[in-house]
């Protein structure tokens, strides 16, 4: 079954993002991805830009409302997600614990909705 690891970063961790390939923080992430792929559990992943770049849209009674910034003003913000194919939630929690994001921010593990339902959404 498939699980999403939702990676939440603190502002400090967003600030640590660099494009410097010798950076140890980046090295830890790269190694983590490698381990996921080599273990044969990796389905897909992506990282998001910093929360300040977000714009939130709502439609209420036909009126548009557009807001600068992310959906919710919380200290830790969604920074990316990883989809894994794993036999159990126990295995998913183990991978979450190994995620470099878990030692600074937080990692939420959530099962993907059943495939039939996902197909309903995506056609």
């Amino acid at each position: 079954m498939q699980f999403a690891l939702l990676i939440y970063h603190s502002p400090e961790e967003f600030a640590m993002r660099k494009n410097d390939y010798s950076d140890p923080h980046l090295g830890a992430w790269r190694a983590y991805y490698k381990a996921l792929v080599e273990a044969g559990v990796y389905v897909g992943a992506n990282a998001l830009e910093v929360p300040e770049t977000g714009t939130t849209v709502r439609l209420r009674e036909g009126k548009r409302s557009v807001q600068d910034g992310p959906f919710a003003e919380t200290k830790e913000q969604l920074a990316g997600l990883i989809i894994l194919e794993l036999p159990s939630i126990d295995a998913a929690l183990e991978w979450a614990a190994r995620c470099p994001g878990a030692s600074i921010g937080a990692v939420e593990v959530r099962p993907l909705a059943p495939e039939a339902m996902r197909r309903g959404f995506t056609g």
């Binding site: 140890p24 830890a28 790269r30 490698k34 381990a35 273990a39 939630i89 929690l93 190994r98």
Partner: protein, 410 residues
């Protein structure tokens, strides 16, 4: 008992609870097999103690007080349940036993039976350790859940299910017969060791499972030794845990940095713990029945010797590992063996041992990759070493270990 303030009373209750918890739960559940109700009864008794003791003073025999209070609540509970189930025998059984017991504060120590119940083959082996921690030591499900990386709700449900199985599944509260004792005892030792959680700490491969519970595991090891003083492997396990515990402080630098065994300051190791471990190991050896835990303790004993001699006798470590692999060819043992062979006979020899392990078995086994990276680096095979380092870094859970490996990788 006047003059004792509330804080002291709370501390006394905490201490009595810690020391007596398992004895009381074991005693209350031995005849009924109803561990969950015994625990509930004991919690009510502890709550009662928290309200009455600060007011009336701590009773002469706190354990007997708790037992009486717990028994009342237990009998009430069983009465309610049995009215519903319309059967009386358990209740009668409990009442008979309690009548003879009120005469003296002494009551039989049934903890050994409880330990064997927790590690019973009919119970899912993943639940052996959590059950022991909860029923013998009184740890709550949340703390156990954290250590075992399971959600607290799930851990709670699994514990409830396991206790229901003990109650309804015909699992007897008994010490196994001679014939099946070795195997059954092994499950108990295994469960205690799982709580200790340090698989092996030669390289930067640290098995994290249960890492916050080492004190509790040593406590359980001591309880078991008290109950089975003649079993060599019980001493072996305690010696193993004490040897590892002796080095706990030196495994981290003042800045929180990870320090591998080879770089630890052996003068900072705890000599009293090492001596205690050595005592147990010698006593175990005199019984002439070697086993997995004695061999693992013997390996740690060779490492401890460095505090006296300043060097590690790697050929001795290799010999102990060879015996250990014959009894217990786990991934941890084989990886540890490879690391020891590399120290004794060079990195190529160590690498050859690692190559003998099926790659499918190690895809998520961090210590294997840590050792492999280290050996490849020593051989100057930089690109291969880099790949192995990445695997070890990617599989590491402890940020300090990750940092250490990132630095080594360069």
């Amino acid at each position: 008992m006047n003059g004792i303030n509330q804080e002291d009373t709370h501390r006394i209750i905490e201490r009595v609870a810690r020391e007596s918890y398992g004895r009381l739960v074991a005693y209350l559940s031995a005849n009924t097999r109803d561990v969950a109700s015994a625990e509930d009864a004991l919690s009510s008794a502890l709550v009662a103690a928290l309200t009455t003791w600060p007011r009336d003073g701590v009773p002469q025999n706190p354990e007997a007080w708790l037992l009486t209070a717990a028994r009342h609540s237990f009998i009430d509970h069983l009465r309610h349940r049995q009215v519903a189930e319309a059967s009386e025998p358990t209740l009668l059984l409990l009442r008979e036993n309690s009548a003879e017991m009120t005469l003296s504060a002494e009551f039989p120590d049934e903890r050994l039976k409880l330990l064997f119940v927790c590690a019973h083959p009919a119970i899912d082996s993943a639940m052996h350790t959590p059950l022991m921690l909860q029923t013998v030591l009184g740890l709550d499900a949340v703390r156990i859940a954290h250590a075992f990386l399971v959600s607290p709700t799930t851990m709670g449900q699994r514990l409830v299910r396991a206790k229901t199985k003990i109650r309804d599944g015909g699992i007897q509260f008994e010490v196994p017969q001679e014939r099946e004792l070795p195997q059954r005892l092994d499950a108990v030792l295994e469960a205690i060791y799982a709580a200790f959680g340090i698989g092996w700490d030669d390289m930067a491969g640290v098995d994290q499972r249960g890492r916050d519970l080492s004190e509790e595991a040593i406590w359980l090891g001591r309880v078991l030794l008290q109950l089975m003083p003649r079993e060599a492997e019980v001493r072996g396990l305690l010696a193993l845990m004490l040897h590892c515990e002796a080095r706990r402080r030196t495994r981290r630098g003042p800045d929180g940095r990870y320090i591998p065994l080879s770089e630890q300051d052996s003068q900072q190791w705890s000599m009293p713990l090492i001596e205690e471990a050595e005592g147990h190991l010698a006593e175990a050896a005199s019984r002439g029945r070697t086993g997995r835990f004695q061999l693992e303790a013997a390996i740690q004993s060779v490492h401890a010797e460095r505090a006296r001699s300043g060097r590690t006798e790697w050929t001795a470590v290799v010999l102990f590992y060879e015996q250990l692999i014959r009894i217990s060819p786990t991934l941890g043992t084989r990886t540890g063996y490879a690391a020891a062979v590399a120290e004794a006979n060079g990195p190529e020899a160590g690498l050859a041992v690692l190559d003998g392990i099926d790659p499918d078995d190690v895809s998520v086994y961090q210590p294997y990759w840590a050792v492999r990276a280290h050996l490849l680096q020593r051989l100057g095979k930089t690109p291969e070493a880099g790949d192995a380092f990445d695997r070890a870094i990617g599989l590491a859970e402890d940020p300090a270990v990750r940092q250490f490996l990132l630095q080594r990788r360069g």
